[in-house]
């Protein structure tokens, strides 16, 4: 049988390649100075979904909540092998903490319909909370396996997965549908040339509308025709707002977020001057190589 796998992904500022102007003088993140990238562990989640597609056959649906520009991570998912993409975007969703976000994404999952498996990256590099995946599972009343390294097998309505724990791993089984959060334990496949050449044309309805800024009666018809053509070619990225997914306005965005940021600090870690070298031939060998490579020797 073929499965439907839903992967939640997020577009995040690239906090791993920080430039000098990454922080504002006020100590907040300067998002304009950081390029927007695909959250790294969400790529691991997508890779796991695509491996399941390779092994068992699956329809892989990728969804994200974000600004209209987040459609780019959806296209990148399509370049890698996803079958469908869903963007949830609405000004009312702005300012969401993990509670509001997980509520919104659980509404999105219900809107998408029956899925066998939901995969999320363990955590996003902009917040590092690791809370959204588990909270979605709770809201959908699904079993969850967190910190998954690999799926051992899927069959007979059950999934067996291996997850990382302190000092080792454990293998767990859960009935489907289930939610997994995935860690950096696989090597996400590169984008595929032919899929890029096809799916670079994939658009959300608002991107199509934006390309016709002076929408009048005739342009409205043009937009409709374009949307129909995109849908017919599998190039339409579904786009939902808060009411499309049936979200309660009091539980989304800023109003639905009890978390308040009190203070953000830029912490500078100081390096220690001392360094210990094990008194073995190997330790000394390593030290000599280090001294050669920083040119103290040679």
């Amino acid at each position: 049988m073929s499965y439907t796998v839903l992967v939640f992904v997020k577009q995040v500022p690239d906090t791993q390649n920080i430039s000098g102007d990454a922080m504002t003088p006020e100590g907040t993140v300067n998002r304009a100075a950081l390029p927007a990238i695909f959250n790294p562990e969400d790529l691991n989640a997508l890779e796991l979904a695509l491996q399941l597609k390779d092994r068992y056959g699956a329809r892989v649906v990728v969804a994200t909540m974000g600004m209209p520009a987040a459609a780019e991570v959806l296209r990148q998912s399509l370049y890698r092998g996803a079958d469908e993409a869903v963007l949830v975007t609405d000004r009312a969703l702005a300012g969401a903490d993990t509670l509001a976000t997980s509520y919104t994404l659980s509404c999105c999952a219900k809107k998408i319909g029956k899925v066998d498996l939901i995969l999320c990256g363990r955590q996003a590099i902009d917040g590092d909370t690791a809370q959204v995946g588990p909270q979605i599972a709770e809201k959908l009343k699904m079993p969850q396996i967190c910190y998954v390294e690999e799926v051992v097998e899927v069959g007979n309505g059950r999934i067996v997965a291996r997850r990382a724990i302190d000092g080792g791993y454990e293998v767990l089984e859960a009935p489907l549908p289930a939610l997994l959060t995935v860690i950096d334990a696989n090597d996400p496949r590169p984008m595929n040339a032919k899929r890029i050449m096809k799916y670079k044309r994939a658009r959300t309805p608002s991107e199509v509308a934006k390309a016709h800024p002076n929408a009048n009666y005739t342009d409205g018809q043009t937009v409709d025709d374009e949307l129909k053509a995109l849908a017919a070619n599998g190039l339409l990225i579904h786009e939902y707002n808060a009411s499309d997914i049936g979200a309660d306005p009091s539980r989304i965005g800023f109003p639905g977020s009890p978390t308040k940021v009190k203070q953000v600090m830029s912490v500078v870690l100081t390096a220690s001057e001392a360094k210990s070298v094990p008194a073995t031939a190997e330790g000394i060998n390593l030290l000599i190589h280090e001294l050669i490579s920083d040119h103290t020797l040679g």
Binding site: M191, N192, A193, K194, R195, K198, K200, I292, S293
Partner: protein, 573 residues
């Protein structure tokens, strides 16, 4: 987070200034495939956008994945036991990454699952792969085998092999060299015989130095005509890996450790004829080799890029006498010369691929265009065929000698450190060394190029390039190059009129190199006109080439034949 495309301003400039429009129009047959294949482009802008995007993906794979694995691949290499070659796990992972990226059938038609990209864009991938791991190119570059089957095979052979090449399921090898015949391929002995009852062909004999000889699909040059001794008795065959095709050993090489170079024994290996009998060497292998010569030039440019970057980085970090060594004239002279040579080789490489693409495009049009083919199309096909035949060997000679010089200087800039295996410089030096040997030594490239130089096959293009609207400094530099051109015509005339084959052969290398200085000088001036930041490189190249040209000119017009008479006295003393 390294991207070997985006971090290379010269490569990005080249892609966007190569004027690929005519090539893409021909390749996509005026974009008629767009209605049939969802990934085919609808116009030139769309095609160029595809090239940029896909090159960027390959650049990222090369920078983030392949390059970090290259030291281990070089140190450990493939294994051979019980007749079976096993590639290093990291080489396998490299190939898996490239296969998943869908770039194992870059030039193949859409209908066979390929990207239908031109040679120019494919060569850019070649270059980046080689910069990341010189040895990996020897496997990635075997896409040329599929291209040869596409050109010369039957429809059945295309259907059978090409989709599996495009999907990465099949890999290939070209089995030409034998223990006794390398440069002298017309004497190849491996025997092809045909069972009279069934019509089945079988191959019997030995091949040596076969890159990736453990491949699934082999193109083999074999003697099908009993009693013949020259190139006209050779045909090309396709065979597949089977128990009768035995890998006897893998070679222990100076460089390109990641790829297996094998000795093969054919014990009545079943094979199919590819193309027509007797055309094996004179048509198909020459075409295959010319494709491979462009690819090896790309490999040379890629390794040179890696070596240059390593040298530049080291020179900027190494402090001696209280300053970084790149501030000393002796070092910045070397670094500048390396960069100028690298840029020059790249300019000639992509001018060559552009001409090869135009030749392929017009050849396809002439052969398949039916009544729509005009006399102009035929004239263009003939013209580009002629120019490709001289530029390909000129380019290989320049690029592969250049990479050796750059890799040599990269070690020199590192000093004693560069001699150590802890640094990359020595690996680039080892990997570079084969490039001016295989697919025809530099000496053979000169033999291939000299005819076109004597016949002045480049003069039309030289006139076009000289006629671009240069002003100021660029116009003065153009005049300097064209002064060399006038002297080149004089030198060519001098040699041609002597009608002395030995003197002609002795002076051939000088004449080809003189031609290269002129041609590349004009290419760099053309590029400088489009981009001001390239002016210093063009100027350096032209000014440096004047004494180099003069040295060779003096030798050519000296008429000095003493070496022909007394070379034994020197060699045997």
């Amino acid at each position: 987070m390294a991207n070997f495309f985006k971090d290379n301003s010269d490569l990005v400039f080249t892609l966007n200034n190569l004027e690929l429009e005519e090539i893409a129009d021909l390749r996509e047959e005026n974009y008629k495939f767009a209605s049939e294949f969802e990934n085919a482009p609808t116009n030139f802008a769309d095609a160029l956008d595809n090239y940029n995007r896909v090159l960027s993906v390959v650049g990222e794979i090369c920078g983030d994945r392949i390059e970090p694995r290259s030291r281990t691949v070089d140190a450990e290499g493939p294994k051979f036991a019980d007749g079976v070659v096993t590639y290093h796990p990291l080489t396998v992972q490299n190939l898996k990454d490239l296969t998943q990226a869908g770039v194992m059938g870059v030039m193949l038609d859409h209908k066979f699952g390929g990207l239908n990209f031109p040679v120019s864009v494919y060569t850019m991938m070649t270059e980046m792969v080689s910069r990341a791991d010189g040895s990996l190119q020897n496997i990635f570059g075997l896409q040329d085998i599929a291209e040869t089957i596409n050109f010369f095979g039957s429809d059945e052979q295309r259907e059978k092999y090409l989709p599996k090449f495009a999907s990465g399921e099949y890999d290939g090898s070209m089995d030409l060299t034998e223990p006794d015949f390398g440069s002298d391929l017309q004497s190849v002995r491996l025997r092809a015989w045909q069972d009279e009852k069934t019509g089945q062909w079988y191959l019997n004999g030995m091949k040596r130095f076969i890159t990736n000889g453990c491949a699934k699909v082999h193109l083999v040059l074999a003697r099908s005509e009993e009693g013949t001794t020259d190139g006209r008795g050779l045909s090309m065959f396709i065979c597949e890996a089977c128990p009768q095709l035995v890998v006897r050993r893998i070679e222990n090489k100076l460089g390109i450790h990641g790829v297996a170079t094998t000795e093969l024994q054919y014990n009545d290996v079943p094979a199919q004829l590819c193309g027509k009998r007797r055309f094996g060497l004179i048509k198909y292998v020459m075409s295959l080799m010319n494709g491979a010569r462009v690819a090896i030039s790309g490999q040379a440019v890629g390794i040179a890029e890696a070596a240059y970057r390593e040298a530049r980085k080291y020179a900027s970090e190494r402090i001696q006498f209280k300053k970084s060594i790149d501030q000393f004239p002796a070092i910045y002279d070397m670094l500048s010369l390396m960069k100028v040579k690298l840029t020059a080789a790249r300019a000639l490489l992509y001018e060559t691929t552009r001409v090869v693409d135009l030749r392929n495009g017009y050849t396809h049009l002439v052969e398949h265009g039916g009544d729509a083919v005009t006399a102009e199309d035929r004239a263009r096909q003939k013209y580009y065929n002629k120019v490709a035949a001289v530029l390909t060997p000129m380019c290989k000679a320049l690029a592969t000698e250049m990479v050796n010089q750059i890799a040599y200087d990269a070690i020199q800039i590192h000093g004693g450190t560069g001699f150590m295996k802890d640094f990359n410089a020595e690996r680039f030096y080892r990997d570079a060394r084969i490039t001016n040997i295989y697919e025809g030594t530099t000496q053979l490239q000169i033999v291939a190029a000299i005819g076109g130089v004597i016949q002045r096959d480049n003069d039309q293009r030289i006139a076009e390039l000289a006629g671009l609207g240069y002003t100021g400094k660029l116009a003065r530099l153009r005049d300097k190059v064209m002064a060399l051109h006038a002297r080149q015509l004089e030198a060519v005339k001098f040699v041609a009129e002597r009608k002395d084959p030995a003197y002609h052969d002795l002076m051939a290398r000088s004449l080809v190199e003189m031609e290269t200085y002129i041609f590349v000088g004009l290419l760099l001036l053309r590029d400088a006109m489009k981009c001001e930041a390239r002016e210093a490189i063009a100027e350096r190249f032209v000014l440096d080439s004047i004494p180099e040209f003069e040295k060779r000119f003096m030798r050519v017009v000296s008429g000095d034949v003493t070496l022909i008479d007394n070379n034994r006295d020197i060699i045997d003393y």
